[in-house]
Amino acid sequence: MSAIRAVILCQANLVATHRESCGCPSYFKRELGVIVRGRQFTSLPEQSQDPYVRFTMITQLKLEFLKLIRSRSFFLSFIALTIFVALMLWGFYSYAERKAGEQVTAQFKYTYESKSYFNGLTFALYSVMFSFSLLIPIFVAMTAGAQIAGERQAGTLRMMCVRPVSRVSLFLSKFLVVAFYTYLLVTFFIGLNLLVGLCFVGWGDLQLYPGALNLVDEPGKLLRDEALLRFVYASLSGTWALLVIAAIAMLFSVLFENPAMATVATLAVYLVFHIIGRIEFFEHLRPYFFTTDMDFWRDVFKPQIPWQSFQHYGAVCGAYIFGTLLVATAIFDRKDITS
């Protein structure tokens, strides 16, 4: 009991000190909930009468969202993706020029290999496929990895846990904001690729060939409007797949003190499974890797979407997401915050 009392006193002192010295908004200063291992022990009588301290999930989400859009990494990720699209466009132009001569780039939109094959939708598909495996996961891991560990490193986590909000709510609101960010990122990237494809390459039907990249399992064709609808589907399925990485990053963010460590650990796990899954020696292990399940998102580009398989792998990803979040919340709820 004496140990608990000591912690309560320590936290109360900390909050009192913080109230006087920091530049936090007034509603932060007015609250004084003392939390030990996730349980709220005391709160001031005035708390229930103050509308500012009745933190709901929505308020929490608003705060986290504001934090996200004010962070540098938020804009950095969008800028990096824009640069990537520009590089892809340059790469396609130079490749076409090298393969088919200079006259090709003079009428780039009509003359690459086949009139009907190469168009803005093909460009967008290739660009999305290339970036989805390696580029976008970095930003998702970076943002999700910084959620808890970043607060801890900045010294604000303790203060946040002192607020009369449960740690689970705090954690879930952070995850929801990461999920929204992931959707925004994927949608922005797909939209930008389609826009660039329309302006610089031109639109048409989407012709699909397995090829060396094994983009699809079988040759086929999607009419333009159907293909655009499939890109919309891809923004949803892609986000769902990326949330597996986000959930793992959130778990590491709870476990590690440093956001860089959480991000690197997430990317290490992801890349190890991603690379090993592509080596033929480990073909028999592929079904056990979460990266194999994550790849389900591109099933939406198959001429006929294999719904049975799509639902299976989507559900497996869901199990990874909610299972990892459950573990992370359980750990975070019981974790001593000593920083």
Partner: protein
């Protein structure tokens, strides 16, 4: 606590969904060499004549050409329609130099029969009754270890959309009832008039019946020859090979428009899939 309970429930729900929707194929990965299974090549061909002829059934004199087309394209199984009877099948099998075994369906209330030919000598043939006539199915294995394949040869009524709808429904229901693990494909001339512009008067429900019959097939099967083009004269696509939606991968679908002889009004549809 509510949040943890919710997360646990969602996790369990996802696991349950994953178990419920068991995929029929392993995932192929981006930029990884796809694991290609054995290839199955199928053909369907109505070898009858156009309706303008005195006898619109298959003519025995054309069977040599039919056999040459089969041998040059080397399908593993063939669904044929509008034969006159088992005699024609016997002649055709003779032209095929014993490379195929086959069977014809009983005529039922029709004057023409369907046949199915398979390379596998151990194939098992089965008649299925539908709307007063018969279709025929062959069960075989492409390789000893590969899953069983069932090919149905069917011919729906050319004149009544109502009968086509009933016939199609019964064939599909039979195909759905095959034991799990076997790959069922339906090939044949279904005579669906799916294009509204072909409808010449306002007093029939033909398009409605055919659309609903086609939709019913697509509920459980996939139209493998959809991109292959017209299969009969007058720009009509009325011959189909329907396959399982996910178990097989489509590698090739082609209408062999140079095949045929005499007054035949259909071309063979050739489909190649990976099991």
């Amino acid at each position: 606590m509510w949040a943890k309970i919710l997360l646990t429930a969602l996790c369990l729900l996802m696991i349950g969904t994953a178990v419920r929707f068991d995929p029929s194929r392993q995932r192929s990965l981006l930029a990884a060499k796809p694991s290609d299974g054995p290839r199955l090549r199928l053909m369907t061909w109505n070898i009858g004549y156009a309706e303008l002829e005195d006898d619109s059934r298959a003519h025995t004199k054309d069977l040599k050409t039919v056999a040459d087309t089969i041998l040059s394209n080397d399908p593993d199984a063939i669904a044929l329609q509008e034969l006159t009877g088992p005699e024609q099948l016997k002649v055709l099998l003779g032209y095929l130099h014993g490379r195929y075994s086959g069977a014809v369906a009983p005529p039922g209330n029709s004057d023409r029969v369907d046949a199915v030919l398979v390379k596998d000598g151990k194939a098992h043939f089965e008649n299925l009754a539908a709307d007063g006539k018969y279709a025929i199915a062959a069960s075989f294995h492409l390789r000893p270890q590969s899953p069983g394949v069932v090919l149905v040869s069917a011919h729906a009524d050319a004149f009544s959309a109502t009968r086509r709808r009933v016939f199609t429904g019964e064939v599909v229901d039979w195909a759905r009832g095959r034991p799990g693990g076997s790959i069922v494909l339906i090939g044949g001339d279904f005579n669906f008039a799916l294009d509204a512009k072909d409808e010449s008067h306002f007093y029939s429900d033909n398009v409605k019946h055919d659309s609903e019959a086609y939709s019913y097939v697509l509920k459980y099967f996939r139209d493998l020859g959809r991109e292959a083009g017209y299969t009969a004269i007058n720009d009509r696509r009325i011959d189909y090979i329907f396959g399982p939606p996910e178990t097989v991968l489509l590698r090739r679908a082609e209408v062999l428009q140079s095949a045929g002889t005499g007054q035949m009004d259909h071309w063979p549809l050739l489909v190649e899939v990976t099991l």
